[in-house]
């Protein structure tokens, strides 16, 4: 066999996007999982959403060690907003689940510090119905400075993004499964999106800042005390600069493609 024939039958290495490759290396994922991460990064960049992300958790690989990494910054550091799991959290190839008793994930992300301008977006993808009305994500100071998403009574999802607890949007849904996200793009515009793609807005004028307490996944951090523990199963979550309504719609679609590639769409 000559040199050229030998080269043609050698396994070909796959060239991934550099940001995707850093995450793939950190998590140790391979095969379909690695391809899905690469495509997720490419799609986010094509939609001009990637640069707005501060913390993006693709929740892939099936273990706490692979689920903890932030796709936007794959260093194993608190400063990289790498997750740490606290209390009863279980992990599988479908994501990680809280126990509704004391389990949550610490992001180490302080919204007040990271978003001094007061404009940010948060979102999650939940795979189970019939949850306990715990928070998917949330932080607040007393009844104000609230940033969070909480399903209530299965058929209602409530969104907060700066302002008092009463400044919210409500989505009536079949169940709490799928994509939920919100964004504040101005002091008079909170926009949220549900799994059907329906957008809701709240135009109440607000002036206060974000909570200065770290925002967790699967719980609410109220002035440093954790409560509202959720038994949801998350397979995607993010915290970013403010996204427009069209960007929220694009992100929902990109995430659906990602989840479908992994066979865990709901």
């Amino acid at each position: 066999m000559n040199y050229y024939n030998l080269i043609s039958i050698m396994p070909k290495s796959v060239a991934y996007d550099a940001d995707a490759q850093a995450f793939i290396t950190a998590t140790g994922i391979s095969g379909t999982n690695a391809s899905a991460i690469n495509q997720l990064v490419l799609n986010l960049k094509a939609a001009n959403i990637w640069s707005k992300m501060k913390a993006l958790y693709p929740i892939i690989g099936g273990t706490a060690t692979s689920h903890k990494f932030n796709l936007k910054d794959s260093r194993d550091l608190d400063a990289a907003f790498r997750l740490v799991f606290i209390g009863g959290v279980t992990h599988s190839s479908n994501g990680f689940s809280g126990n509704g008793t004391n389990g949550f994930a610490n992001t180490f992300l302080n919204p007040n510090t990271l978003f001094p301008s007061g404009f940010a977006s948060i979102g999650v993808y939940n795979r189970v119905s019939g949850t306990n009305s715990g928070f998917f994500i949330g932080t607040q100071v007393g009844s104000i400075n609230h940033l969070g998403i909480r399903p209530q009574f299965i058929t209602n999802i409530r969104h907060w993004n700066r302002g008092s607890t009463s400044v919210q949007t409500n989505h009536t849904v079949v169940n709490e499964m799928g994509f939920s996200a919100n964004s504040r793009t101005s002091n008079t515009l909170l926009t949220s999106i549900d799994n059907t793609g329906t957008l809701k807005t709240n135009t109440t004028a607000i002036s206060i800042a974000y909570s200065g307490f770290i925002i967790p996944l699967l719980a609410n951090n109220s002035s440093g005390a954790y409560s509202g523990y959720s038994n949801a199963q998350l397979s995607f979550a993010y915290i970013s600069d403010a996204l427009t309504s069209s960007e929220l719609t694009s992100l929902k679609s990109i995430n659906e493609t990602y989840q479908t590639t992994l066979g865990r769409q709901v």
């Binding site: 273990t63 706490a64 903890k68 740490v84 606290i86 209390g87 126990n99 008793t101 004391n102 389990g103």
Partner: protein, 77 residues
């Protein structure tokens, strides 16, 4: 006294492991598995407790004794 060996997964949301004050202090800030920390909390009756998941999935050799904790029914605050 009910223990971890006597319940099924369907019971995990019903029960929690009961800690003494000293055991609570020992577990606080400690890993029960890679990247996963114990989180002792108080129930409605001011008992210090951890979840069944923390007991079941504990692989830290220093704290395998949590698997033998007595279980009580969980009453949230």
């Amino acid at each position: 006294m009910i223990t971890l060996k006597e319940i099924t997964k369907a019971d995990w949301t019903t029960y929690v492991g009961l800690l003494t004050e000293i055991q609570k202090d020992e577990l606080t800030g400690q890993l029960y598995a890679p990247d996963s920390y114990f989180n002792p909390i108080q129930d409605l009756n001011k008992n210090w407790i951890i979840s069944v998941e923390e007991m079941e999935f504990c692989t830290n050799e220093l704290f395998l004794w949590v698997k033998d904790l007595p279980l009580i029914i969980y009453y949230p605050l």
